[in-house]
Each structure stands twice: as C-alpha cells, then as structure tokens.
C-alpha cells in the first residue's frame, strides 16, 4: 500500500484506563472481528494478562478505516518493560493517549507519554469513560492539554465501553498522525519491536518496515546479533495471522523465522536482507536489556528441580529478558538465580511457574545487581548477596529516576517515604491545582522489596509511580549475614546500606525467632556484619514432647505418626542441625511492612 495511506500508532494508558477496551472497540468498528467473535480484551492473549488487566507481550493488529491501513501496535503497560515500550513506540508515528475521565493522568501514562514525545510521536489525546457518573471529562482534558499543550476542545471524549465517539478516534488518527516516510527504494530495513515463540514454527518477529521491502523466502539478517535466517512467511495480524507475499516500507507485520531460540532475535534489532543491497546502518536505539532484579528460585520439594529447569527453559522461549543460572544454596538446595527486568516481571514469572507448571517454589528476597571493584582493579557484577565479599571496599548500586504523581495533600508523605529510602529530591511540578508530579533519584534496592506497597498504602491508593534506570552510583553498603545455630544461612544474606544494617538485622532475627519452631536445643539466631554480631535472639528449647500414651491398640497409629513426623523433619531445611521451615526464608520479605505498621 502507498505509504501515504498507512498510519502506525499505539495506545498509551494507565492500567484500567481502558486501553484494551478501546482496542476491542476499534477491532469491531473496523469489522476486523465479527461481533459474535468478540471477547473481552482480545489482544491480551495470555490468561495472566487478562486477569491482571495488563499487557505483557505487545502485538500488532492491522485494521482498515476509510481507505487507510491502520496498524495498532500494542505496548506493555508497566514500568518493568520500558525498553519494550520504547521500541514499540519507535515503530509508530503517533500514539493515542487514553486518560480516565474520573482518575486523570497517572505516573505511568506520563512516563509513556514522555517516551512517545521523545520519539517524536504525534499524540492524540482521548478522555475515556465519559459515561461514568464520577467522570470529569473537562477536568481530565484540561490536565492533558496542560501537559501536552494544545486545545482541550481537540481532546476526543469517548466511552470505549459503550462505543461512544470511538469513530472520532479513528478519524483523528488518520487526520493528525503522519504517514510513514521511509524510502521504499532503499536497502531493506525493519525494526523488530516484539517477538514470540510458536512451538511449530519457531520464533516469530513483529516488525515495522522502515525502508525497502521484504519478500517471502528472502534470506535475512539481524544486524546487531548477526543472526541469519530465511523469511519462511510474512504477514500481518488481523487479529490472527494473514500471510502476504511482501511487506513494504511503512507497513507493520510479522515474519516467521524458523529460529528455535528467541534470544537469537532481540527487540530493537534491525532486520535487513542478505540478497542484493543490504543496509549499511542499523536503525538507531538498540540496546541489550539487562535484568536488574535478582532472586533465587528453589523448588520446595527438591525432587522438582528438573521440572523447574524445564519450566524456565520453556518460559525463556517467549521471554528474552528472563535470565537464569543454576544456584546451589546450603539451606535451600538446588535452584536457580533468576534475573528480571523488575518486580512485576518477577511476579509474573513466578506466577506462571506456579500456575502453568504446577511448581511449588521458595523465592528468596529479591536484590538488585551490584557492581563490585575487585582487587584486580576490575569491576564485577554481582547478582547474589552470598557472592559479595564480606568487607566491601567499593560497591556501586543501580539508581532509578522515579516519577510519582499524587494529590497534593500527600506530598509530605511521599517525601518522608523517599527520605527513608535514601531518595534524593530532584524537583516537583503541579499538573493541576490538585495534583503534583514529584521526581526523585532512588536506589533501586530501596524499591524492590515493598516500595510500591508502601506508596499505595500511605496515599490510600492515590499515588502512581513509574521509573527508569539512571545508572550506577557508589554506596556505603554492607553484607548482613544471618547465622542459625551458629551457621550462616546463605539464602538469608542481604546487602544493605550501612545506616540501616542494625535495624534491619534486629528485625530479621526477631522475625526468624517467631518463624523457627522450638527445637530440642536452644537455637541462637544472629545477624552479623563480617565477624561482628549486630543482633541476637534465641529460640528456647522445648521442655516436653511426648506421645501421651501408647498401648496395644495404639501402636500402628503412633508409629505412622512418628514416621510422618520423621518425613516432615527430612523435608524441612536443615541448617546446622536446626529445622528451618520454608516460611522463615520469606521472613525477609515482610520486614518493612511490619516495621511501619
């Protein structure tokens, strides 16, 4: 199709502001999906996505509207996937910004809107849910134009749920968003903005053709990674796969690669042809996504280790950002140290492992990636507290640029929270007389445990939060070890700012004293920095543990009881002859919640 009749756009919205509903309505209005085949949130294909109301994997759907080809490129809506969002946006010329008429702008919307503006996208502002009794379409429109400029009258007011004015959104896309401007005669270049794995056909890459054209069967190359393959099939989604002979400049579609490894194709990479004139320069903006949050995943039942390994392998097929390597813990046995883009990513992986693969897991407290200066003078990245040298000379930790939007009465609360979390105030701005946008620098480590929960509970759910990584900075960090029965428990070690070490150590041993059942001997629990003990508690020994009576009729039952008890003992993790229940390993996760109650 002639590029002038193509429009490529995405929809940006906060969770629950109606992105998926709007997408559904667009599919119906353009007759892409028959009404009878419509089901809610058609584009969110994973169960988990539908349940959580979020989009994890982006997809692209082609629809027809008044003689134009419109490509809707869906974006993941969460902070953990900022890079993926940025690639999806780069595949577009414009974005529909959806704002809830009752809620107004949220931090996530803002972050993605800024990202869109940085990518030179035309923004089509839309206020949704105007049919709700609590809706304030004018207020929301004001807020949006204050942020983006423009006239509130140009803000399209819709109800995606009932379909009111959705046609105006499509018209606005055609009128306001620019057509693609690639060179159809230049060497072929396409941006990979997403990929997925099909067990029969291998890796499927979703691409935006920028220059030239791609034909079915053509030999292709990914420029950054150098991966080579043939285009087994080209096509577009409508919303299921429709094969075509070629994809040309300006178009969006998919290419079936036959590759068996998703990590062979990375989001952000540029595809070109190996036949005729190949492109010399890749498209700008590719970077390797690096996991920043790490946690140990261990099967509760050590027999499930091979199943966990297989499950991670399977997940990795569709999730190039997931990282894992075998880890052995004295306390928890064999498992994996896994790296995630962020907390939500970790939560999603964990839930999928438990739900789709029926695994029972122990997940250790998450930590961030640290950079440690070795004696050799080289920097090494450390993903596990137990690998950290006990005395830390020079360590760097990742920082984030945090963006928080709250009603103005919570500004003090947010500042207090951020101070507790070693945050540095950057600046604040008023989005409207009522709502404030705060920008902070925060160590990522202070965010990974429970920051988001705290933020929500201290602002009664009104705060919204987004972040992007701003780099590494050196920190006064120490490693706190926990000793149970005199032996260090590797899975409980944590890296923490020197200033917080004492408090955290004390809370941790107190919590462990509650979680570790009384045993036949006194069990000392200590927190230590190196050889210096900073907190100590004791689980007092039991004084009595007998089976009340046992006569001729009871013997079988008592024996079975003892055998069961013995089995339980064998399953419990033994540390220095102490039975430590699995709950104890989760104790670290809940410390702050308790402290601030």
């Amino acid at each position: 199709m002639d590029q002038s009749r193509i429009r490529n756009f995405s929809i940006i919205a906060h969770i629950d502001h109606g992105k998926s509903t709007l997408a559904d309505r667009i599919l119906q209005l353009t007759d892409t999906v028959a009404d009878r085949d419509m089901r809610e949130q058609l584009l969110d294909s994973m169960d988990l996505e539908r349940e959580r109301g979020i989009t994890i994997k982006a997809q692209a759907v082609r629809v027809a509207w008044k003689g134009h080809q419109l490509n809707l490129i869906d974006t993941p809506g969460h902070v953990d996937f900022t890079y993926e969002v940025s690639r999806s946006l780069q595949a577009c010329e414009g974005a529909v910004l959806v704002v809830d008429a009752a809620q107004g702008i949220e931090a996530q919307t803002l972050a993605n809107a800024y990202l869109a503006i940085e990518n030179n996208l035309e923004i089509v502002p839309v206020v949704n849910k105007i049919d709700l009794p609590s809706a304030d379409p004018d207020g929301a429109a004001e807020e949006v134009t204050q942020l983006l400029g423009g006239d509130p009258a140009d803000v399209v007011r819709i109800s995606a749920k009932t379909g009111i004015n959705v046609d105006q959104v499509l018209d606005a896309i055609v009128e306001r968003i620019a057509a693609p401007e690639g060179d159809p005669d230049a060497p072929a270049r396409a941006l990979i903005f997403d990929s997925s794995y099909d067990q029969y056909r291998g890796v499927i890459a979703f691409i935006r053709v920028v220059d030239g054209s791609f034909e079915t069967g053509a030999p292709l190359r990914a420029m950054a990674l150098g991966t080579q393959f043939d285009a087994e099939e080209l096509g577009f989604m409508s919303p299921s796969r429709v094969p075509v002979e070629a994809l040309v400049a300006g178009e969006v579609g998919y290419v079936i690669t036959g590759l068996k490894d998703v990590s062979a194709l990375r989001v952000g990479d540029t595809l070109t042809t190996r036949r005729g004139a190949a492109a010399k320069e890749p498209l700008p903006g590719y970077k390797e996504v690096k996991p920043m949050v790490f946690a140990g995943l261990f099967p509760s039942d050590s027999d499930q280790y091979p199943e966990l390994r297989d499950a991670l392998e399977r997940l990795k097929l569709n999730d190039a950002a997931l990282f894992y390597e075998p880890e052995t813990s004295q306390a928890l046995g064999f498992g994996f140290r896994c790296g995630f883009l962020g907390l939500l990513h970790m939560e999603i992986v964990r839930e999928r492992l438990e739900r789709e693969f029926d695994l029972d897991l122990i997940v250790t407290a998450p930590n961030v990636a640290y950079r440690v200066l070795e004696r050799s003078g080289e920097w090494r990245e450390v993903h596990n507290p137990s690998e950290m040298p006990a005395e830390l000379e020079e360590v760097e930790e990742p920082y984030i640029h945090a963006s928080i939007i709250v009603p103005k009465e919570y500004v003090g609360t947010i500042m207090e929270l951020n101070n507790e979390r070693r945050g540095t105030f950057d600046h604040l701005e008023y989005l409207s007389p009522e709502r404030v946008h705060l920008i902070y620098e925060l160590p990522l480590a202070e965010v990974v445990l429970d920051y988001y929960d705290q933020l929500k509970s201290r602002t009664r759910g009104y705060a919204s939060f987004d972040y992007d990584l701003s780099g590494f900075q050196s920190g006064k960090l120490v490693r706190v070890d926990v000793l149970v029965g005199g032996e260090p428990v590797d899975a409980l070690s944590l890296i923490i700012h020197r200033e917080f070490a004492y408090d955290r150590g004390r809370l941790l041993v107190e919590k462990l004293r509650e979680e570790i059942p009384r045993q036949m001997f006194d069990v000392p629990i200590q927190a230590a920095i190196g050889s210096r003990v900073i907190a100590r508690e004791t689980v007092k020994a039991r004084r009595k543990d007998v089976l009340a009576k046992c006569y001729g009729g009871d013997i079988s039952r008592k024996r079975k009881l003892l055998e069961k008890q013995k089995k339980g003992k064998k399953r419990m993790k033994q540390v220095g002859g102490v039975e430590v229940p699995q709950e104890a390993f989760l104790a670290v996760l809940n410390l702050d919640g308790d402290k601030k109650k």
Binding site: M520, R543, D545, L547, I555, L562
Partner: protein, 384 residues
C-alpha cells in the same frame, strides 16, 4: 496369613459398655444397650474360644478394658472372668462410681488381682469439663472399698491439661492421689483427638495452654518421683520396689506391649499382634455379634489385617522401648536406627548408648531425663 500358634502370653479383653460417652474419648464404646451385655459376652467368649490356640500354654497377664468393664451386667461379667485363663496379673478397668462391695467381691472371686481406676481429676469443675460421672468422693470411696476387699494393686488414672486447669489444681490432684497410696499411677495429657466432640468444643483453648503444659509434665515427674514412685514409662509410675516389699509393681500387661511381645485381643475394636500380623477387630457390635454368636465355634468377626515386616517390627520396638526407663538392647534393631539422628541426640545430651555388640543384645540405648521429656521428638530423630 498364619499367625504364630501359641505365642501370646498377654490377653486383652474389651468390654465396650459405658453409661455415657465422655467428650474426649475416642475408644470403641457402646452407650446404653443393657440388653446387649449378655449376647455380646456370648460372642466375646466364642471369639476367645476360637482364638485360644494363639495363646501360650502359660498366660502371664490379662487386661479387661473398655468402655467401662465394671458397668457390664454382673452375670455377664462373671461369665467373662470365669472364662479367662489363669494369669499372674489380671487387671480390670473400673470407673469409681461403679465400685461397690458387691462388685469388688465379684472381681476377687473372678481371679482379678489388679484394678485400674479412672479418677482423672479431683476438681469437680474439671470433671464437668471431662463429662465424667464420678465425683472426687466416689474415687476415695472406690479405693477404700477395693482395699476392704483386699486388693493390693490399685492404679489410678489422672488426666492433666484439662481446659481451665491451674497449676494449683494439678498440685491438688497429685496430693489427693498420693494420699490414697496407689501402687501405680498413670498420668495422661489430655489429647484433643481429631473428630471428637471435645476437640470441637475445646480445641482452641488447648492450643492456647499448650506451652504451660510443658511445665505441668515436669511438675508431675518431680512430685511423683519425690514421693517414691518410679517413672518407668513415659506416662506411668509405680511405687518403687524398695517401698513395696520388693514387688515389681509395673503394669506387666502393658510392659508386654512396650517390650514388643505378642498379644491377643478379643472383643470389638480389640487389636492383636501375633508374629508378623496385626489385626484389628471392627468396631460394630452388631456385626461382631452376628458373626460369632449364632455359630457353634463362630465365624471370624470383621477384621482389618496389617502385615508387619521386620523393619516395621524393629521400628516399633525402638519407638516403644524408648518409652521405658530401662535401656533398650539395640542388637537386631540396626535397620531401624538413623545413625546421624542418634549421634545428634547423644551429642545433645538426650540419649546414651552403652556396651558393645554381643550376645546380651547390646549395645544398649537409653534416654537421659531431658531426653525422656522430649521422647517424641528424640524418637523421631533416632528412628530411621
């Protein structure tokens, strides 16, 4: 399926009848049904005749338990006693309120020489919690009645850990019991067994007070050993022989269980262990009677069988043996022992092993005093 013929030197006889089923009880009992006493005893005697080949030529002990055996209608009870083989120790369980001079005489004439009396507690309000019919005076009167009938081996059962029981209640119970100078005492912690009415009503309270119970058990052992009793089994005490003219007043019938010997049990719910086989009679009195009564020698009553392989036998031997104050010969039990667990228990001062492997069955394993207080956990550690 063949059991070892003529191996059992211990006989258990179950008389299930009760006036009232106490809330905490999970024994096989039958409430009311006075008209069934006779027919049940017919069936019981038929089973005893049927199984008598399992009994050794010389029977050491007989234990008539329940239920409330002494509630059984006198003629029926007399017939049971008359059918029992002669034995050195013949025990009958009795509830205090059933003990009359007539009953005492009947038991004596029937060859009974030991009475196990269910006192439970001397605090009236706690007896109410247990739904016991007898009062504290009934217990004292029963003991005197039995002494008058020249019973010189009386055991009292006491229960501790009753919801609402204060330390002073326990002290008082122990003092009251000691004042009656019983030859033997059994002290049971109240168990909230799943599914009983009692657990339903008091389960939460029992959980709450479980920590205080640790102190109660120590208090009991201190008090009774201080009064000259031997703590010879986890829950059982007997007057030590130097205070009892060298008599060994341990419950020899129960010692049979704890020392892993064969025993024959007859009656509903009764369990037998004969060689490699354990069998448990069904709990239904109707099916029991119809299987046994209407036949000349009787059909086998409904039973569940359990085969005991050598490992299981060894485990039971260990589990039961560790309840006793006498050292357990480990010879032959090697497969049932978790070496690492045993090491840890020895290192922690909870268990002691003495002697060398030899013809005497050595080495010998015993628990220290603290080890006995923690007997359940220690056994789980030592058990393979």
């Amino acid at each position: 399926m063949s059991s070892v013929e003529g191996s059992a030197r211990h006989l258990y006889v179950h008389l299930p009848f009760c006036m009232h089923r106490c809330g905490y009880c999970d024994f096989v009992t039958v409430v009311g049904r006075a008209d069934q006493h006779g027919v049940y005893v017919d069936a019981l005697l038929a089973e005893l005749a049927r199984e008598s080949a399992s009994l050794a030529d010389v029977v050491d002990t007989v234990f008539v338990g329940g239920g409330t055996p002494t509630l059984t209608e006198p003629d029926a009870l007399r017939r049971v006693l008359a059918a029992l083989p002669p034995a050195t120790e013949v025990t009958v369980e009795a509830n205090p309120e059933t003990v009359t001079p007539e009953l005492a005489a009947l038991l004596r004439e029937g060859g009974v020489n030991r009475i196990s009396l269910g006192a439970q507690t001397f605090a009236p309000r706690l007896l109410d919690v247990l739904e016991r019919v007898a009062g504290p005076d009934d217990v004292r009167r029963a003991v005197h009645t039995l002494r008058d009938a020249s019973f010189d081996n009386i055991s009292l059962d006491l229960i501790y850990g009753i919801p609402g029981q204060e330390p002073s209640d326990l002290d008082n119970d122990l003092a009251e019991a000691l004042a009656l100078a019983p030859e033997h005492l059994s002290l049971y912690e109240l168990e909230a067994k799943p599914g009983t009415r009692f657990t339903h009503a008091w389960g939460d309270e029992l959980t709450r007070q479980s920590e205080a119970m640790e102190g109660y058990f120590e208090r009991i052992v201190e008090t009774l050993t201080g009064a000259g009793y031997r703590w010879y089994e986890t829950a059982n005490f007997c007057l030590s022989s130097d205070r009892a003219a060298d008599r060994d007043l341990r419950a020899h019938h129960n010692l049979g269980y704890w020392q892993g010997r064969d025993y024959l049990g007859v009656g509903i719910g009764a369990v037998s262990t004969l060689g490699e086989e354990r069998r448990r009679n069904g709990a239904s009195i109707g099916r029991y009677i119809s299987a046994l009564r209407d036949h000349e020698v009787g059909e086998e009553p409904p039973r569940k069988l359990e085969q005991l392989d050598s490992l299981t036998k060894a485990k039971e031997r260990l589990m039961l043996g560790l309840r006793l104050d006498e050292a357990l010969p480990l010879g032959g039990l090697e497969q049932a022992v978790d070496g690492g667990g045993l090491e840890r228990m020895i290192a922690g001062g909870l268990a002691v092993v003495q002697g060398e492997p030899g013809a005497d069955g050595g080495p010998f394993l015993s628990l220290t005093k603290r080890g006995r207080f923690l007997g359940g956990g220690v056994t789980a550690e030592i058990l393979a």
